[in-house]
Amino acid sequence: MPELSTAELLAAAGNGDSAAWNELVERYSRLVWAVARGFALSIADAADVSQTTWLRLVEHLGALREPEHLGGWLATTARHECLRVLRKGGREVLGAEADLDLESGEPTPEAVVLRGERDRLLWLSLGEIPQRCQVLLRALATDPPPSYHDVSLSLGLPIGSIGPTRARCLDHLRKRLHSHESAADPGFDSPRGGV
């Protein structure tokens, strides 16, 4: 069977086709999860945001203005739900005006088993870069890769700023990673001053 477009799957789901619905979930649930976890929500809160986001889609099936941009709609809905959770917990909300370079909170605390040392340091570094960068990079790194349009809505940023923001965020990540690698292995860095 040829792969159906998102708009075709939405139309089928709107007519009661649960297989089409399941395919939409497979295609976009990781993006929704990436947004929720990127906002540093706990697993339980992220699960709640995901649930609410998909229920919202159920009630709007057939009513989306741009069905081909479902990923953007889901990312926007998930982001708004994240803001509610953060507000409810009395935590600082990252508005569109927030400084991209604000320091993020604690690194993600999960006890994670990552085999490679570089993987472990990369995961650690991801938790240390500004929050908005975490959302952006997590969204960008989802599989299947989302469009820039969908990514822009996960942060509420204009699409034109995604390219430069992505570059800055990757730069933040590289710097953190580099400093961790240097600390772990003093010989990793080439000596400065060339003594």
């Binding site: 789901a13 009661g16 649960s18 619905w21 399941n22 979930v25 497979e26 649930s29 990781r30 929704v32 999860w33 990436a34 976890r37 697993i43 992220a46 699960a47 709640d48 945001v49 995901s50 649930q51 609410t52 998909w54 229920l55 919202r56 889609l57 159920v58 009630e59 709007h60 099936l61 739900e81 803001l83 509610r84 959770v85 507000r87 409810k88 993600t108 999960e110 994670v112 990552l114 993987d119 990369l122 995961w123 991801l126 990079l137 997590r138 960008l140 790194a141 989802t142 599989d143 890769p145 820039y148 349009h149 699409i159 390219g163 992505r166 990757l170 990540l173 590289r174």
Partner: protein
């Protein structure tokens, strides 16, 4: 819009995130299961205001949360109070009318009656995503409204 420039660090990140923070199977299953809530015979009342997202509520530090849903010809105002892990919903239908109000959530529901002044109250609703299904009689005909899902 130009395609994203390939950066090997993004690919590496994808691999690390898939290992360290994969979407839980239960979350995937819940997303799929939400399809059972598809309704075709009820009108939708959308969430239009949430005191949680208004500046005044934040400044005042008020704990009760006010939600307003609007549908064709109907408004539903709901106050949400936290009672431990449970929630109490106190609501008002506008225009005022007697109705049956069913609060639904994943795995359960509870029914209440709105009196002739359109007032209702429901206790022991678990925290999480809920939606209200409201059935009233308008001009002798039954009318069904469902509200947007909202996490309380």
């Amino acid at each position: 819009m130009a395609e994203p420039i390939f950066d090997p660090l993004v690919a590496e990140l994808r691999n690390v995130i898939e290992q360290a923070d994969p979407i839980p199977e239960s979350v995937l299953a819940a997303a799929k299961a939400s399809f059972v809530w598809r309704t075709i015979d009820a009108e939708l009342a959308e969430l239009v205001t949430d005191s949680l997202l208004t500046a005044a509520a934040i400044r005042s530090g008020s704990t009760a949360r006010l939600l307003t849903f609007e549908g064709p010809g109907i408004e539903v105002e709901v106050e949400v109070a936290d009672i431990g892990a449970m929630r109490r919903l106190t609501g008002q239908l506008v225009p005022v009318a007697a109705a049956i109000v069913v609060v639904r959530w994943n795995g359960g529901s509870v029914e209440a009656e709105a009196d002739e002044l359109g007032r209702f109250s429901v206790t022991d609703v678990p925290a999480g995503a809920v939606s209200l299904a409201i059935t009233s009689t308008v001009d002798g005909l039954p009318r069904s409204i469902v509200t947007s899902w909202v996490s309380i």
